[in-house]
Symmetry: C2
């Protein structure tokens, strides 16, 4: 049996830098026609020059693969001239609340201070990608942040806002209220609840931000995605860390899923008998919501089982050592 | 400044066996006049002979310290003759639902099958200690298990039931309903919420079962304990694991708190200005609820700061590398 996917896109990806970039970029380049690249490097990607340098490093790491990195600027107060010059080189600006996840220390502390930059972005039609979590109780952070989404969506009706890696029923419901709001959903949030992270033995390699939530939240996410919600795009949030940063006293957040993303998505959609909805989730919704035309790239998956290795380099992938039913051919 | 404690008791303790027993037992023996020793060894402690052997090993590991191990049998279907013979050697029988925590695989699968043993225990006046969690969603397990507590408490009104290591508002409220029900509360559950475990970096050394819960639950536990609830006894649930079982792919549940238990309890009660309630929590409530008379042992703590080491042997303790304000003198 064969599944063909037309220009799959990963609308939320961490490619890191230096040696880690070289290790992980080829997996994305093999599976996807393009990916939205997050800007939370050790020194945040917050200037046009950094965008250009990072893009070059990514293209080098990808080798000869036909792959488009959609670059993002790290949110700060930008001048109109800066954003106007950057516009052709980026797909959007990524906003992190300060300290909320890996390398987000330079993120936003005061949401009142961001209005001017948002006005410029709205005017220039530059999308705003948001890691939407408060600094409250870990299971309530996404829900609590909805008031911020609401304020921005209301005050900037022509600004395209993307709720990144949503995990809750509340976020799914919120999404329906504003035409200018889209969302991404990860692979692992379509498969995990908090039980998988802390319910039996503790699983540091399933630890991510936002944390996986309740069975009811998982159900709501799956219903929305598998039901064909056109405002939701696939974004893996694949976020590699070396094992010594995962299996240690204070373990970093992130699940490395790039090598298994397409095979597992096909498996999920097949099991729920809705393979007809996969092309939209993996590509078409992103084209519509962002107004982009990806590179032509056809991916074929066949029902050839394989076993995920226990590590790629020093990174343990999602579904390590488990059997997958679908292979990229 | 000095604090004197009269025969402190740890009413829930894991001493393990072999080398680990030798490493950790002295810390309990130095701080406490006695401790209720859990029976979930690799081969569960479920016979009088095993009780005697384990008690001997504990006494050897404690050296010359004046320390009483209150032994518990691992719950299974026992005959009347077995329990009658064991009665003088044990403080109670510990019930684990199967598979709910470390080495609980041989626990109870079917709660309908335990009635006969409970009848015998009620008749012989042998207390029932319970790890009260369902196999549901990790944040709801304790609350869901309350129906089991309720059924046992109602059907066996003369059986002393101890809800071990309670963590929720619901358990605190339940405790008030039945005169034959007591509870233990750990040190770490008086200090942690899920945020401390997964809210920032993941902290495997703060991972325990039951998992630390919400800020509201923490508040309820602290109010009950610091407010002087006479049905609640201190039980550390100190549960050591070597570092390679904590900092790894699947991390074991348990917090090793014995070396810091008394200093941190004094600090908590002092900060909340209720040091007058500490003696009851640490000893008197247990004497009343269990009807025991502990060994005479006076512990003195002084306000002499010290730094907790990063490890004792191969075990990282609770509050490792942090400064404590109180020392056992």
């Amino acid at each position: 049996m064969k599944i063909e996917l037309n220009s799959p896109l990963d609308m939320h990806l961490h490619l890191r830098e230096a040696e880690m970039l070289k290790l992980v970029a080829p997996f994305s380049a093999q599976s996807f026609a393009g990916a939205v690249v997050m800007p939370n490097l050790i020194s945040p990607v917050d200037s046009l020059q950094k965008i250009k340098d990072y893009r070059n490093a990514i293209m080098t790491a990808c080798g000869k693969e036909n792959f488009e990195p959609y670059m993002t600027l790290f949110f700060r107060s930008y001048k109109r001239t800066e954003l106007a010059a950057a516009k052709e080189h980026i797909i959007g600006v990524k906003l992190y609340p300060a300290g909320i996840t890996t390398q987000s220390e330079k993120g936003v502390k005061d949401f009142d201070s961001i209005q001017e930059t948002l006005h410029i972005m709205e005017e220039l039609q530059i999308p705003l990608l948001i890691h939407g979590e408060s600094n409250g109780f870990v299971m309530e952070r996404e829900r609590e942040f909805l008031t911020v989404y609401q304020e921005i969506a209301t005050n900037f009706p022509n600004l395209h806002i993307i709720m990144e890696h949503i995990t809750t029923t509340a976020a799914i419901e919120f999404l329906e209220k504003y035409e200018n709001v889209s969302a991404t959903v990860t692979l692992h949030h379509l498969m995990l609840t908090l039980d998988d992270v802390v319910g039996d033995l503790l699983q540091p390699h399933l630890f991510c931000k936002p944390i996986a939530k309740t069975p009811a939240d998982l159900q709501a996410l799956r219903q929305a995605v598998l039901g064909g919600n056109r405002k939701i795009m696939f974004g893996s949030d694949s976020a590699p860390h070396p094992r010594h940063k995962k299996e240690c006293v204070g373990c970093a957040a992130g699940v490395f899923s790039s090598p298994v993303a397409l095979p597992l998505l096909v498996q999920i959609f097949e099991e729920e008998d809705c393979l007809d909805k996969l092309q939209a989730f993996i590509s078409d919704n992103a084209r519509e919501r962002y107004g982009i035309t990806p590179l032509e790239k056809r991916l074929t998956l066949t029902d050839t089982p394989w076993q995920v290795p226990q590590a790629y380099g020093d990174v343990r992938p999602f579904y390590a050592e488990k059997q997958l039913r679908w292979s990229i051919s």
